[in-house]
Amino acid sequence: MNGFFDGLLSLRRGAWEMVASFLIAVGVIMLMQPFILSLFTYSFIVTLVGTVMFIIVSHFPE
């Protein structure tokens, strides 16, 4: 767990890609869940942030 936070602080690709993947996954779940309409409303912005973050952090050093 410490390695993950160290990776985030030192701007390493692995840790940040994990955060971006998590955001994308959460966004897709929010988009398709059948329970709360407001989660559906905010799903796109979460997925968009995750996707843009993924594109940016994939250029970070390993």
């Binding site: 994308i24 869940q33 309409l37 559906f40 905010y42 997925t47 993924f54």
Partner: protein, 315 residues
């Protein structure tokens, strides 16, 4: 000494062109050859994408080309993301996505496990199982429509035979509760072989020496399955899940052929709904925003897919 093709091509090049090319560096020449592909890519992929993003911020309707186009900002996005009908469409897509993936992975892996055992006629069975994947979705949709016919359909007859129910008492594509399952069954029938092939590749990549070492340690077959087979096939399974997930998120042709999105809108998946908004209601700006939302979602999933693929390659 006979002329080579390069020499013949050099001789047949007009002097004016040859003189112009002589001044080019290797890199410049390479760029010259790659340029047509890049131009084609920009024209076919990048330009429509940028144009769609632009249209998503307008109220443009393609059936009224002479009307003024107004910039509406994020209003299209706001309307889509607050629309309960589109939310239902997303839920129908999720239902389709989850069940097809679960069934295809379970059946695909089981088939791959069985096919991986060496037995007579192994290759013949592989070919037979893979056949549905090679058919066109239009053909599959058409003949499954016949199979689902309540009066003469083979599917209803088999279900009736197994359960004792009257075959004409239910309609797979006509009833609200059964229609979502009808498309799940057909997609599973068609794409399970694909998952099976990926799992088979994973199973065949496991060296026999690992199983031999496990047998020397007196590990039971059950333990070998859970501690060797599953962990080593898992990256392949993951790939299959992601690949089918992305494909089924975009599912269009099979559903249109089979149910057309009905009855009502119970099987109206996102792609079918998008086509309706764009080419039946002619709300181009609104449909563009819808397409951008789907694009970002699929692009996000594809990014995870590529990351998983790289991890598999590293193994």
């Amino acid at each position: 000494m006979p002329d080579t093709a390069i020499e013949r091509a050099a001789r047949s090049t007009p002097p004016a062109v040859a003189n112009r090319l002589k001044g080019l560096s290797d890199r410049g020449l390479a760029m010259l050859f790659v340029a047509p592909t890049i131009v084609l890519l920009l024209a076919i992929n990048i330009f429509p994408l940028i144009w769609t993003i632009y249209l998503s911020f307008t109220n443009y309707r393609v059936n009224r080309p002479n009307r003024d186009v107004d910039f509406v900002g994020l209003r299209n996005y706001e309307r889509i993301l607050n629309d309960a009908d589109i939310w239902l469409t997303m839920q129908a897509t999720a239902h389709f996505l989850i069940w097809t993936i679960v069934l295809q992975v379970l059946i695909g892996f089981t088939l791959a496990y069985l096919i991986n055992k060496k037995f007579k006629g192994n290759d013949l069975w592989t070919t037979i199982i893979v056949l549905p994947m090679m058919l066109s979705p239009a053909v599959v949709g058409n003949f499954w429509t016949f199979l689902y016919q309540p009066q003469i359909g083979l599917f209803n007859y088999v279900v009736g035979f197994l359960t004792g129910a009257d075959p004409s008492s239910f309609s797979m594509i006509g009833e609200v509760s059964l229609a979502p399952w009808s498309i799940i069954i057909v997609d599973t029938w068609m794409w399970t072989p694909f998952v099976m092939l990926i799992c088979l590749a994973g199973l065949r990549s496991i060296p026999d020496s690992i199983y031999e070492a496990a047998e020397c340690d007196r590990a039971s077959k059950w333990r070998q399955f859970w501690t060797i087979t599953i962990p080593m096939v898992l990256p392949f399974l993951m790939l299959a899940v992601l690949f089918r997930g992305i494909e089924n998120f975009k599912m269009f042709d099979l559903v249109v052929q089979l149910t057309g999105g009905g009855p009502g809108s119970t099987t109206e998946l996102t792609s079918v709904n998008l086509k309706r908004e764009a080419f039946e209601k002619w709300r181009t700006g609104y449909a563009s925003a819808y397409a951008v939302i789907l694009f970002v979602t699929i692009f996000g999933l594809a990014s995870i897919y590529v990351k998983a693929l790289n991890k598999v390659k590293e193994r």
